[in-house]
Symmetry: C2
Subunit: 201 residues, 2 copies
């Protein structure tokens, strides 16, 4: 059984997952689809003013500390970007314009720019750097960000996320509909998909 | 270095922690203080209408599913109580009226009533059952729930929680002020306290 990894480029916990999901999924023998989406419209529909992690100062403070601690535990770099939340629309479109096989390298490279280096993914120079780091054609990736079919794909992704009752990121949705929210639940989601695959073998 | 375990009887994740923190802390060699408090006044001050986990239907739905899955992974019973959120004031006062050494058994027994059996901790019969299961004098525990000094202690606990910038439960606060939120962070908090104790040995 496969699962879909729903992520948002402005979400630091999505970055933590992007960095490790390929290795973890390979170990579990679970195929992963990478799906960029936007939390903005979902938070707006839920009645939040912006991110629920930022509404309360104490919660926001803990989030940054928590992400930094987890990155440190995993020996990964973490920089709190000066621009936050980030405007992730262009990067999300560029991701959805890519073939599934090209997405992981680009997404991880983009997350490294944002949360490994503190840069702004809304800056085309940053997106170009991410594309280059991923070994992709820079012009093709940048063109994807304004491609009409990628715009439509992002609208569709947000609609699908709403229909799946996704309310945060990262979220993992197994093919049987089971939904797991948060980087903390990656292992549980993979185990769910792995064990159900066995049951149907 | 010791840590304080802040819990709320209406919080299912606090129950998951209460069940395992004694064993985990013993293994880490970390002393734990058990501190009941109330999330209601903290959520109200944060501007939430009720629990942030319940404001959004999709998030509430995930919370119940997630808690049930985690309890299942740990081979623990879990029943979603008919009454939720629960009125936890009396149980919190009763806890604070107890000596530190008597709290863990009572708190775990009370959580088993709520999330192991789905009962209502605001019911004095349920609180009495929890006291009995903990091997405590039932009348003394029930008297603690309306004791003026316990009322004052609960007000003080909520004020202290606010001062510590606690925004949810369970929360673990190490003696150096480092704050960890959520059952998922219990091991990190214990490791923080354990390793700092070594550094100061």
């Amino acid at each position: 059984m496969a699962l879909t990894f729903w992520f948002e480029f402005s979400s630091p916990y999505s970055c933590l997952t992007a960095r490790r999901i390929r290795t973890a999924a390979d170990r579990a023998g679970v195929a992963v689809r990478w799906r960029a989406f936007l939390l903005g419209p979902i938070f707006a529909e839920a009645g939040y003013e912006g991110s629920p992690n930022l509404m309360v100062e104490a919660k926001a403070r803990h989030m940054w500390r928590d992400v930094a601690r987890r990155a440190h535990l995993r020996s990964e770099p973490f920089v709190r970007p000066a621009t936050f939340p980030q405007k992730s629309v262009a990067a999300a479109r560029a991701t959805l314009a890519l073939a599934e096989a090209d997405r992981p390298a680009f997404v991880v490279a983009a997350f490294e720019c944002v949360f490994g280096e503190g840069r702004d993914i809304a800056d085309p120079v940053v997106m170009a750097d991410a594309a280059r780091a991923a070994g992709l054609d820079v012009d093709r990736v940048l063109a994807g960000a304004s491609d009409p079919s990628a715009k439509a794909a992002l609208f569709a992704a947000v609609d699908e996320a709403k229909a799946l009752r996704i309310f945060g990121a990262p979220t993992f949705v197994c093919d049987d509909g089971e939904l797991f929210w948060g980087d903390d639940r990656l292992d549980d989601a993979l185990e769910w998909a792995r064990s159900r695959a066995l049951a149907h073998a």
